[in-house]
Symmetry: C2
Subunit: 422 residues, 2 copies
């Protein structure tokens, strides 16, 4: 089966926006076991769009099109489709009704410009839009099923889920990939993960792996692409596959459910009824920001001190002046006293700290840019360790140091020893 | 002139990655005054790639292709191009030399797999790759100039700048758009900016505007697309255009040079030799994180307290217990005492604070999700104000509150009165 994706609109061809819609649709096809043959992006021109669609009508089985369904003059997808397929644009009463209802609900005025949006090719059937004004539509043309959706990502996504996906499953007998397991990894590059997991597809026929890197993490997906449904044997097969993967990735798996590191840390703190305080230097607030990105983090997060200056490290965190004089701000002892200090002043169960050199300047031969000391203080534990990374940019260093601090905390919360770390 | 962009590789068609290369190349074409006609993404298949390129060879004038030049078996772009254009793949001695030198410099071993990368279509000329192993190449085919670049974004970008762009300017007589002015806006939606700037292109022939939204900011580009070079009259024309734009956007311009709000704040603090301390509640560290994203921020940033709990607000920031009892954490008086407190304990010139409800829970009828109080304490100034936004997600609220706090500070540093704000 040949599937194609088309995105219309000058914004993409001008480089003003990234075509996230096509990516989403390709991912959805992948989850149904289909590799898209081609993505085409064309501008807001009737002839260009018509020409592109006509060729696809003669060579593909399914084509998903996004964009150009809005009320303004440059929205010409329906017109282009009608002209190229030799149909008239007619007022679609179902589309008009849905739109009128939507406008009424939102208290918007219904204008003539909007009426244009209900003008669809004569053979088209409507796809309802619950999140916006532009109706979508689908039709069979030559040898291909076309589905037209709005370009606004939120509208497109919900229309795909509600109106397009069920029809694809129905018309083509595709199987939705209900079985996807996600793991979150930290502490190894994507290429290394690939090497460690070599042989997976031979070992587990009908399954494959997907990788997505988002620095400094990697998401690994275990995907079941074969026949079958939620029966026991498949459940067991997925469990076996996951165990095989986890075993090979050793201690680099930070989430068995694809959650972020900060979510995992949050769950552990909540579960164990612990509270957390954070002392940051080089990470400048990024650790705290991620921790508080998790809804409900106020249940366990109490306080952070971002102490850039030595003065603040002394007066707020009670880091010993002698420690700073003897070792400087970037040192295991300083990190340890920062973690201890923030734990004590906020009366938290756990304190973690970061102090290092994010760059671009400030590095020395002894402590180059990329050096960080992570400190941790908790029930019966006080320790700190130095790490050196070589990722280059300030932003990457901040991200790496932050992930490391959270991972050190996660391992302590899991009851692992610090020697496990990186 | 017809320009097209082709991206090869299964990763894009599987939805595993976003096609940022095509976006970059479209943007570059735009800067040379060319709207790309079509973007095509195809997988790692010889026949697919060859077929796509052959059609483009017969209809376009320029085609930029990325991906498929690596050492592994699934890198087939050169082979596909050779077969479809009826040429042999031959060992290109210049490509081989460049690669050998690169490997030697990096201390890598040169393998037979790498030698494959120097096999190019017979008529191809080499494009050097200074950042990686894969040589690029260019050739004329049918009626079109093709340029083949690696898929790794950093390698592609530098090859484009060094090897492709100069040739495009030369072969097609394109003018690089040397005159681009950027402004950063905060406090209005993109559609509103468009309305306020209507009429620009009639008023300033040869110039146009570009918009890019990155919540909660908008970047406006003033682009000179006509003839001319760096002469006085054009300089004056750009100044006039910028003044016209700034006048219409009133006080929504946060940077006249396209810098981020935190960079502008940093420049002002440095210039006036002021220091800064930050007290955050609902923003959870995001204000501090952005402030410390700016290299050299340790010159002015001293300390932040992220006080999620009321206890931390009292003990660390010395917010009056009675204030918290009478008004709660989200109140102008609390924000004011937080800003004052963090300024005093860190002995900074300026203190700013955020306290509000980022959601998704925690809102009340009186103080719904999206409510924030911003406090500021500086030389001769102490004030706080409440704002309510309606953006929905926790992440968006954190971003909006953060931008607002920095903008309030920026206006004070510029000597504007707080009444100007939003």
């Amino acid at each position: 089966m040949i599937a194609e994706v088309v995105s219309t609109g000058d914004e993409v061809l001008l480089g003003d926006i990234l075509d996230t819609n096509s990516r989403f649709l390709c991912e959805q096809f992948k989850h149904m076991g289909v590799l898209v043959r081609q993505i085409t992006a064309v501008g807001d021109e009737v002839a260009e769009i018509g020409n592109t669609l006509e060729k696809i009508a003669g060579r593909a089985d399914i084509c998903l099109v996004t964009g150009g369904l809005g009320p303004t003059l440059d929205d010409v997808t329906a017109l282009a489709c009608a002209q190229a397929s030799g149909q008239k644009l007619v007022l679609n009463s179902q589309a008009l009704e849905t739109m009128t209802a939507f406008f009424k609900k939102r208290g918007f005025e219904f204008t003539q410009d909007n009426k244009k949006q209900a003008m669809l090719p004569a053979s088209a059937k409507v796809l309802s839009n619950l999140n916006g004004t532009a109706p979508g539509f689908f039709m069979f043309w030559d040898q291909c099923w076309f589905f037209f959706m709005p370009g606004v990502p939120s509208e497109m996504k919900s229309m795909f889920e509600d109106g397009v996906k069920p029809r694809l499953l129905d018309i083509f007998g595709l199987k939705a990939e209900i079985f996807i397991e996600r793991l979150t990894l930290f502490g190894l590059p994507e290429s290394r993960a690939g090497v460690l997991l070599k042989g997976f597809e031979n070992k587990f026929p009908g399954m494959r792996l997907g990788f997505r890197a988002y620095f400094p993490f990697i998401e690994v997906k275990i995907i079941y692409t074969g026949e079958g449904n939620a029966c026991d044997s498949l459940g067991k097969k997925m469990t076996d596959a996951r165990e095989w993967v986890v075993l090979r990735l050793e201690n680099k798996v930070v989430s068995l459910t694809g959650q972020s590191l900060e979510q995992e840390v949050g769950l552990l703190l909540k579960e164990k009824k612990y509270t957390l305080a954070i002392a940051e230097s080089c990470t400048g607030g990024l650790v705290s920001n991620l921790v508080t990105d998790v809804p409900g983090s106020s249940d366990y997060f109490l306080f952070s001190a971002i102490t850039y200056s030595n003065g603040a490290k002394e007066t707020i965190l009670k880091v010993n002046q002698k420690t700073l004089e003897a070792h400087g701000a970037v040192h295991e002892q300083t990190a340890l006293e920062m973690a201890r200090g923030v734990k004590i002043i906020s009366n938290a169960d756990w304190g973690i700290s970061t102090t290092g050199i994010a760059g671009p300047s400030g590095g020395t031969a002894d402590k180059p840019v990329g050096t960080v000391c992570i400190g941790i203080a908790g029930p019966g534990i006080e320790t700190a360790k130095r790490y050196t990374f070589n990722f280059g940019t300030r932003a990457e260093n901040k991200k790496m140091f932050t992930a490391l601090a959270l991972e050190v905390l996660r391992r302590h919360l899991m009851g692992h020893t610090p020697s496990l770390m990186v």
